[in-house]
């Protein structure tokens, strides 16, 4: 099975987005007829409606499929924690503010408390559990230890994932870029000084690894 095709297929089948709809109608048409709106309503209440009650889902996490069942309202975060025992991502604010639940979905850093588990199907989900390679902790994880970028450690998994996603897009960041790039994660113990240094250290090591 080609993993890359999965998101595309899903889009065609059920992702009837408002933006896609407006594009389809054409932004210059000006007036939306009742008929079009009915069609939208029809599309949304088509056989794709899931629930109430639990529905079976398959999630691609860290390169392998996980089958479970969740209610349609269950977030990706809760599915990971309550159904799959993948508990690195933490539930802290549960409202997309603090970043403790950060995962990487299709290469993008995301708060897993803001994504429904059923909508995460067919997408490549990476959690902190999948970051180590051949049993060796990821460079970001090691840099967090070396720079003591953690105290109680509850924000740490989210911070490590946010840092990893940030470095994937900014492999050579400045100190200032780290400060603005990781603004989406909050820590109560106050580990930010260590985090700043850890991210810069990890950047150096990851670049070194690429050159090797």
């Amino acid at each position: 099975m080609s993993l890359k095709q999965e998101p595309e297929k899903r889009k065609r089948k059920s992702n009837f987005s408002r933006r896609g709809f407006l594009q389809g109608v054409g932004i210059t048409s000006g007036v939306l007829t009742t008929g079009v709106l009915e069609k939208e309503a029809e599309a949304q209440s088509s056989p794709k409606v899931a629930g109430p009650g639990e529905v079976p889902i398959t999630l691609q996490i860290n390169g392998r499929p996980y089958k479970t069942s969740v209610e349609p309202r269950t977030t990706l975060l809760d599915a990971l924690r309550h159904r799959l025992d993948l508990t690195a991502a933490k539930r802290v604010c549960d409202r997309g503010t603090c970043g403790a639940c950060t995962v990487i979905v299709d290469g993008k850093v995301m708060y897993s408390c803001t994504v429904l588990a059923i909508d995460a199907q067919g997408r490549q989900i990476q959690t902190l559990e999948g970051l180590a390679q051949n049993g060796k902790p990821h460079a970001v994880s090691r840099a967090f230890v070396a720079n003591d970028a953690q105290q109680c450690g509850y924000c740490t998994p989210g911070f490590v994932m946010a840092a990893k996603g940030f470095l994937d897009k900014n492999p050579n960041p400045t100190y200032e870029e780290v400060k603005s790039g990781l603004g989406g994660n909050l820590c109560r113990c106050g580990t930010y000084m260590g985090v700043r240094k850890a991210v810069l250290d990890a950047a150096k090591e990851m670049k070194g690894a690429k050159n090797a």
Partner: protein, 718 residues
């Protein structure tokens, strides 16, 4: 009679492990996600708990009907803890607990509970004392000297109002637990600062032997003083488990409930008058303060005024506790100190400005009113050097013509932090593995790592050779982690248990080396004759001589005896200096730098110690600029029980932080002293003073939001 072994810490220059900058032992587990917190557990058959809380700040329950919730498929138990006729005293007060097979079902069931309320009048705001009516409880005047006369004779007096609001702990791992009650046994996995002591809460409430309550916790996600008791949610989750055939029940509070009822720090509002001579000598302090810690009122130690400068000769102190309809206060890192420090240091900075004196000079001038004049003198000098105070400080408001004004401020703090009662068991096995067991907890402060360092130092082993077992009440009793008492307690008990075990090993080895046990030492993974390293054997060889037997020895820190033993002590000082820039057009305060110079006696691991101070500085930045619990007068509820509007500083909001641990031989000689609280005291005051210095006027109320800064500027120009 055998001699008492020598428990003293090795001299600074002889230490091989203590004092080194070592990585925390559980670092990799935390940064790879392998660390399992008790909120991560999902034992077989686990149920999810949920609770209904009062939507009103004050109401009477007219009727309560849980039948629909009980009937919902998946619900296993429902326990109403209020009944018709009961009065609810604050929004968020617990009313019904229930358990269900999924969290979604549990939350649905809560929504099915029908309650009729008779809403009653409430009071949730305490800032205006004239509006609190009979909810004020004055605690009487404390007076020393002749304050009136001192004011009359003073060269200068200063009067000011100050305010610091209620904060909530906002632990990232919420309060809660996973618990299973089977017959008269409990398996209890709380998030707690009190692994050993918390068992008794469950034992007493469920009437089961405390010995049958097994508590286990490897990691915990923040407590800051708020996580000692089992709490209502712990006891009721236990009851739910019992009512559900012993299935484990997990209930960790959602964020809104966490911020509403799981602990907060009392506010303080103040009217202060101070007096000084022209040369900066402070002659009088008069304060009228009031605060709330929720329904119970006060919780503020007003006897701490004037903070650190407690010997100002003429003092008059009045304090009033105000009871409001809001969740109860709990201990927070250095209870009372940050607030009292903020008010005192703000008032003295205002007094210094009144006589056109550099506040650093005024603080130095009056150090004889403190109990640690030499220490503070040294620390202020160090901080001033790091801050380049004399170069960067300017008289209040004299900060140039541009819209962005820079200013400096300072503050100082003190704390006790002597070690609590702690018992430890150290075991040496024949295969040379060493275990250290004690029922303490690592809050993220590095306790696990420091225990290993002490044992490694004692045995002459690397820290990787030590297995630390903590977080379980099956191990020897060690105190709860409050008041910065843990590090002194556990390092002392670990040292004594390890020395005791090593002494036993020496006795075994002495025979084969044909010397007396007193002549041996453990260094560099070898047991050697003192002064004759050729006569030695490896630690592993020595342990082989144990045959099939292990050596297990106990060691205890007894607070009453600790001062004579010299392993730990209490009483520390620290100073902080802040450098801020204030945009006078937007009111936005930007942190440039915060300098902290902190003493905590013998520093076991400077790396984790510095982390604690960095963290405390950041917590202070939050308190000075961002965080505040906001109550709604109309509904009586917390308006910002979420992390969007209960604001914490982010990684870009803190400027640069410079931490200097005051590690000197004379500090070190005092033994180990706790650190968590003392470094969390001075920052808010230092930042508030820096803002006053920058904008030329006191913005009296923290957090210093743009609106408050602009309001202060308006008063200046009015």
């Amino acid at each position: 009679m055998p001699n008492t072994p020598d428990y003293h810490w090795p001299p600074m220059d002889k230490r091989r492990v203590m004092g080194k900058r070592l990585d925390r032992l559980d670092g990799i587990a935390k940064s790879t996600g392998a660390a399992k917190y008790n909120s991560d557990l999902k034992p077989e058959g686990m149920l999810f708990g949920a609770l209904l809380t009062s939507p009103y700040a004050h109401a009477k329950v007219k009727s309560i009907d849980t039948s629909a919730a009980e009937k919902l498929a998946g619900v296993t138990a429902v326990r109403a803890i209020v009944k018709a006729g009961d009065e609810l005293q604050w929004a968020g007060q617990e009313m019904v607990f229930l358990a269900a097979t999924t969290e979604e079902i549990a939350n649905d069931a809560v929504r099915l509970i029908k309650v009729d309320y008779e809403v009653m009048p409430h009071l949730v705001l305490e800032e205006d004392l004239s509006k609190v009516g009979n909810r004020a409880r004055p605690s009487g005047e404390q007076a020393t000297g002749d304050t009136e006369k001192a004011f009359q004779e003073a060269d200068a007096t200063s009067e000011g109002s100050y305010g610091i609001p209620v904060l909530t702990h906002c632990c990232l791992e919420p309060h809660g637990q996973t618990i299973a009650i089977k017959g008269d046994r409990a398996e209890y996995f709380p998030s707690t600062q009190n692994v050993y002591g918390i068992a008794s809460d469950i034992g007493r409430a469920l009437n089961i032997p405390i010995a049958n309550v097994h508590v286990h916790m490897d990691y915990m996600g923040g407590g800051f003083g708020s996580k000692f008791p089992a709490d209502r949610w712990g006891l009721e989750s236990a009851e739910l488990s019992k009512a559900s055939g012993g299935r484990p029940v997990k209930l960790f509070l959602d964020r809104a409930t966490e911020l509403t009822i799981a602990g907060n720090r009392p506010s303080v509002f103040a009217k202060v008058k101070t007096a000084a001579k022209k040369d900066g000598t402070i002659t009088a302090w008069q304060s009228e303060t009031w605060s709330t810690g929720g329904i119970g009122g006060g919780n503020l130690n007003a006897a701490l005024f004037p903070y650190v400068f407690t010997q100002v000769p003429n003092r008059r102190i009045n304090h009033t506790a105000v009871s409001v309809n809001a969740g109860a206060a709990r201990a927070w890192r250095a209870p009372s100190h940050p607030q009292v420090c903020f008010i005192t240091c703000s008032a003295f900075e205002d007094l210094a400005a009144k006589i056109n004196m550099d506040p650093l000079d005024m603080f130095l001038k009056n150090l004889n009113y403190t109990s640690r004049a030499d220490l503070y003198k040294f620390q202020f000098a160090k901080a001033a050097e790091l801050m380049e105070w004399k170069k960067n400080w300017h008289p209040r408001g004299d900060s140039g013509n541009g819209p962005v004004k820079r200013g400096l401020g300072l503050a100082l703090g003190t704390w006790g932090g002597a070690g609590h009662a702690s018992t430890c068991k150290t075991t040496i096995h024949p295969d040379a593995s060493v275990e250290v067991e004690l029922a303490t907890q690592d809050l993220g402060t590095g306790t696990r790592t420091m225990v290993a360092m002490i044992a490694a130092e004692t045995f002459g082993l690397p820290i990787s050779a030590i297995k630390v077992k903590l977080g379980d009440n099956a191990y020897p009793n060690s105190g709860g982690s409050g008041g910065s008492t843990t590090v002194g307690g556990v390092t002392s008990s670990t040292r004594k248990a390890s020395v005791n075990a090593l002494t036993k090993l020496f006795e075994v080895v002495a025979k084969s080396l044909n010397v007396s046990a007193d002549d041996l030492e453990a260094v560099d993974q070898r047991i050697s004759v003192k002064g004759n390293p050729d006569k030695s054997m490896s630690f592993a060889q020595a342990c082989q001589k144990l045959g099939v037997n292990s050596i297990s020895e106990m060691g205890a820190n007894e607070p009453a005896k600790a001062p004579q033993e010299g392993l730990n002590t209490g009483g520390v000082g620290g100073v902080q200096m802040a450098d801020v820039s204030v945009d006078t057009e937007t009111g936005i305060v930007k942190m440039n730098r915060l300098v902290a110079v902190q003493d905590c006696g013998l520093v076991v691991n400077p790396k984790t110690a510095e982390s604690q101070v960095y963290g405390a500085c950041i917590m202070s930045i939050c308190g000075a600029l961002y965080e505040e619990r906001i109550m709604d007068e109309q509904t009586g509820r917390v308006l910002n029980p979420d992390m969007e509007f209960y604001k914490l500083a982010g990684i870009g909001d803190i400027g640069e932080i410079i931490v200097h641990m005051d590690i000197r031989e004379e500090m070190d000689k005092r033994g180990v002293v706790g650190l968590g609280e003392p470094c969390a005291i001075g920052g808010i005051a230092a930042i508030a003073n820096a803002v006053a210095n920058a904008i030329g006027v006191r913005a009296p109320r923290v957090p210093l939001t743009p609106a408050r800064v602009l309001a202060a500027l308006e008063r200046r120009t009015a």
